[in-house]
Structures are given as C-alpha cells and as structure tokens.
C-alpha cells in the first residue's frame, strides 16, 4: 500500500485536529519514499517541539513504517499566521 499525500493530510486532520496540512512528496532524489509535512493544529498549543513531533509520529505510525524519510514542521495556528506574514 503506497502512502499518498491525501492520505497523510486526511489522517492528520482527523486525528490531531490539524486545521492546515501541507504535504510534499520529496521522493524524487535518492530516497524511495519521502515526505515533508507542515502541520498546523491548535492541539500543539503549549506543547514543546518534541512532543508535537511525537504526536505526528504517533498519528502516522503505520505509514512511517513504509516511509523512508520524513521531515516535519509543527505550528500552532498563531505561529502559522505569523509565518504567513513574514
């Protein structure tokens, strides 16, 4: 079963309340299957970076077994707004 960008997006929205997800398939280079995601969720509020990343990892645990490389950025809605303005 191949992991798709849509699948990742839907799962993150459903399970950790992500209000915005950007998924980029970065597989083209040397790796067989790699993704880069930006996840924006109010559930990240007040949580340190490591804990946020763990939430994403847990949510995508099944998928990560098949994914070779996985980059992530986790923002609260507030941080995301700030980033957009920059």
């Amino acid at each position: 079963m191949a992991v798709t960008t849509d699948h990742i997006r839907e799962k993150l929205s459903a399970e950790i309340g992500a209000i915005h997800v950007e998924v980029e398939d970065t597989s083209s280079s040397r790796c067989a299957l790699s993704f880069k995601v930006l996840v924006v969720s109010p559930q990240f509020e007040g949580k340190p970076l490591l804990q946020r990343h763990r939430m994403v990892n847990t949510c995508l645990a099944t998928e990560l077994k098949e994914i070779h490389a996985f980059e992530q950025k986790t923002l609260t809605p507030e941080q995301w707004e700030k980033q957009k303005q920059q």
Binding site: L49, K65, E71, Q72, K73
Partner: protein, 158 residues
C-alpha cells in the same frame, strides 16, 4: 539536497546572528574532531540507555561525521559544527542493524539521525534545525557546559 541544506543553514545563520558563518567554517570541513566509535559489541546493543549517557552529546547517524551518508545526518553534523561542537560520540547505524532498530525503539522515534544531550533524547534533524533557528540550541548547549561558537561570532549589538 546538500546544496539546499547549506543554503538553509547559511540563511539561518545570517538571520539568527546577522553574520555569515560560511567563511569561518569552510576550512574545517575535513577536520571533524568527533570521536567515532564502531559499535559492534552486543554489550552496546543491549543497553542503548548506557551508551547515550556516555557522552554529553551522542548522535546516532548514517555514516560518520567526516563522511555522512544521508542529507539529514549531514545536517545534524553541520549544525553541531556551526556551534563549535566537535567533541561528541557518533554511532554509525548503517554498520549495525541492531543498533539502528534498538535506538529507534529506545527513544520511540522512527527516524535517524537522533541526538541525545546528557542521555536525554533531543530530537532528529528537524528539531535540531528548529532549535538552531530559534536560538534554543545555544541555551541547551549551555546547560551541558558547552559554549556555542556562535556566541563568539555574534556582532555586539548593545
């Protein structure tokens, strides 16, 4: 990937510290001072917990600091180097499949590289990069008694 990474690191260094660090470090690329250990003994495998406590900074990576075999591992090495952290213990997980799996299980983290400070899991490439960008890495190193080299290259502002 490496070019992209380098430009990200350079931009970051400029934006965080307001100066370019590339010149300072360009001559040091081949001279990784990191101790690299071949982790083949089963004793090491049995107890990842012990080996992460053996040094203030421990890195599990693909390849070696002198020759990283993956862009993400390379990024971790470059970030540490930028902060002047040259003395750390690096384990090449490509040489040891048990260790590769063992460390993932230990830290409950699915990917390599993995960085530990004082035996505590810090994160992988993304987290280290974001800590570098936010300035948190300088503070965390300070807690370990390591003075980041970036502090000495910073332009006096006030």
């Amino acid at each position: 990937m490496n070019n992209m990474l380098n430009s990200v690191l350079r931009q970051t260094a400029r934006s965080v510290r307001g100066i370019s660090l590339t010149q300072r470090h360009s001559g040091r690329l081949g001279a990784a001072g990191a101790r690299w250990m071949c982790s083949s003994s089963s004793e090491v495998l049995k107890n990842v917990e012990q080996i992460v406590k053996k040094d203030k900074v421990v890195v599990f990576m693909k390849g070696t600091p002198a020759q990283p075999m993956c862009g993400f591992s390379n990024a971790v090495v470059q970030i540490l180097r930028m902060h002047g952290v040259e003395k750390y213990t690096a384990y090449n997980v490509l040489e040891n499949q048990e260790l590769r799996q063992g460390v993932k299980t230990f830290s409950n983290w699915p990917t390599i590289p993995q960085v530990f400070f004082n035996g505590e899991f810090v994160g992988g490439c993304d987290i280290l990069l974001q800590m570098h960008q936010s300035g948190d890495l300088v503070e965390e190193l300070d807690k370990l008694g390591i003075r980041s080299a970036l502090l000495d290259t910073q332009t006096p502002s006030k």
